[in-house]
Each structure stands twice: as C-alpha cells, then as structure tokens.
Amino acid sequence: MRKILLPLLFSTLLFSFDKQDVERLLEEEVCQNCDLSDANLSHLDLSIFEIQDSNLSGVDFSHSNLFMAELQGSNLEGANLENTILWKADLTSCKLNNVKAKGVNLKGAKLKKAIIENSDLSYSSIWKADFTHAEIKNVNFYNSELGDAKFYENDLRDSNLTGSILYKTKFKNTHLTKEQYNYAKSEEAIFIK
C-alpha cells in the first residue's frame, strides 16, 4: 500500500498545476483562470498566448518567448523569468513577487498596477515599459536598461537603480532617494510635474 501511496504523493508534490490546463494552454494558446503553478514552460514559444487571471506561481518560463502575451491579473509569484522574452507583453495588475528575472526582455511591456516585490530584474532590457501605479519594493534593476520607461506614482527608494540606463526615463510623482535623483538627472531622465 505504501508503495502505491508514495509515488502518488510525490507526483502531487512535484506537479501542483492542473495537467488539463497545461494541455489546454499548449493546444489552444489560450488559458484564462488556469492553474499552471510550478509547471515547466521553459524554452517554449508562447508568443501572443493569452493567460489572464491565472495562477502562474513558481512557473519556469526561463528562455521562453512570450512576445505580446496577455497575462493581465495573473499571479507570477516565485516564477523564473530569466532570459524570458516578454517584449510588449501585458502584465497589468500581475503579482511579480520573489521573481527571478535576470536578463528578462520587458521592452514596451505593460506593468501598470503590477506588484513587484523582492525581485531580481538586473541586466534586463526594459526600454519603454510602463510601470504606472505599480507597487515596487526592493527590486534589483542593477545594470538594466530602463530608457524611456514610465515610472508614474511609484516608490523606488528601496530598489537598486545602480548602473541602469535611465535615458529619457519618465518620472512623475515617484519617490526617489537624493542619490537616485541625481543619478537619474545625470542619465538625462525626464521629471514630469
């Protein structure tokens, strides 16, 4: 009996996602309100897929292409987004806590009202991304390219902007430390009143 129960228990522990949801996603390219938590979706072409309001916590999207994917309202807590292409993806109102996203491509991505906490977005391409009203806490933007990105109504004081490109980056009602402000000015950032 124990021999039967043990593999079952392990399979539940290893795959917390709904297998049917994963199959549906890969077949139909659309999966809303799905449970894909902890699924391995790395090295895949998921461009223009629609995965809104879904549980994507712990998903491994590393090296996958999610160009223009629609992920609004999804929970990506603890997801692996290292070297993932999220160019022009819609991440509005997504949860991005404890995300590993070193080298991610978020060019032109929509991150309005997203919650991004304790995450590593270093060495990333984030040109023209829109962070309006995003809750940003303790995010590592070290050496990332944030040129022309929009930071409206944010607090970046406990985030790391060291070495980042802030060329034409737009700040409006955003809290910055004095050091961050001076650095942004030297990078030709734009401060909108």
Partner: protein
C-alpha cells in the same frame, strides 16, 4: 489566432516592402571607402526609437567610442521607414547594427543598445574578426 494571423501578415508586408536592390547610398559608402581599410557600421533605426537615439547620442559620442569609430569604421544610418534598404540584411528588432567588410559581406551583427564600454569591446572584437 486571428491576432497571430494579422501579425504574420503585417511582418510579411513589411519584409516585402524592404526588398529593394538598388540603394545608391549604400553603394556609395563602398565607393567612398574603396581605398580604405575601414569596416562599415550600418545602424537600422526609426525616428521613434529611444534605444536608437541613446546609441547615436550617448554611446557613439562617448570619447573613446567616437575616437575608435572614426579611426576604424564608416558609420551609416538607415531609417527603416524612410530609407532604401539593401538586400540580405535581416533584422527583427530596432536598433540593429550590421558590420560589413569591404566586400559587402556581413561580418557581425549587434541588436539593441549598450553602454560605451561594452560596445567598445564589441567594436574591438569585430575589428579583430575582420583583420583575421
């Protein structure tokens, strides 16, 4: 699915639009450098591309990069929406920089932007490749 089809059609249309063989500006760059050992750096841009202006206004103008470019490269800019583009130089993202040797052969490609130091390293790498 419909969106994907539209997108593919859009890309196909734009690829067809740039299929031009006679580009005097491109050819003249070779005539100009006929007696020169310089490599051509051809950057594809658009007017609404902040990364392109960063490369042109910041990276290319940084003292060490500017000096190196002047010594070893002929810089050519192509606005993909306004200029005629030569055949055989495929791009997806903008900016894309092509490095072309004196025979018109692509010897390197750089996509995106970079700060002066890593870009200078890239230029030196290309230079070494060309001199081999």
């Amino acid at each position: 699915m419909f969106k994907k089809t539209l997108l593919i059609l859009g890309f196909a249309a734009s690829l067809f639009a740039v299929e031009i063989t006679d580009d005097m500006a491109f050819k003249s760059s070779y005539l100009e450098k006929e007696n020169s050992s310089k490599t051509t750096l051809m950057i594809y841009t658009t007017s609404s591309c902040p990364q392109c202006s960063y490369m042109k206004e910041r990276t290319f103008k940084e003292a060490n990069v500017a000096k190196y470019l002047q010594k070893h490269f002929i810089v050519l800019e192509k606005n993909i929406h306004q200029d005629l583009l030569p055949d055989g130089f495929e791009y997806f993202g903008i900016p894309t920089i092509f490095f072309v040797n004196k025979n018109g052969k692509q010897v390197g490609k750089f996509v995106g932007s970079a700060r002066a130091k890593p870009f200078l390293d890239e230029l030196k790498k290309i230079r070494t490749e060309v001199e081999k």
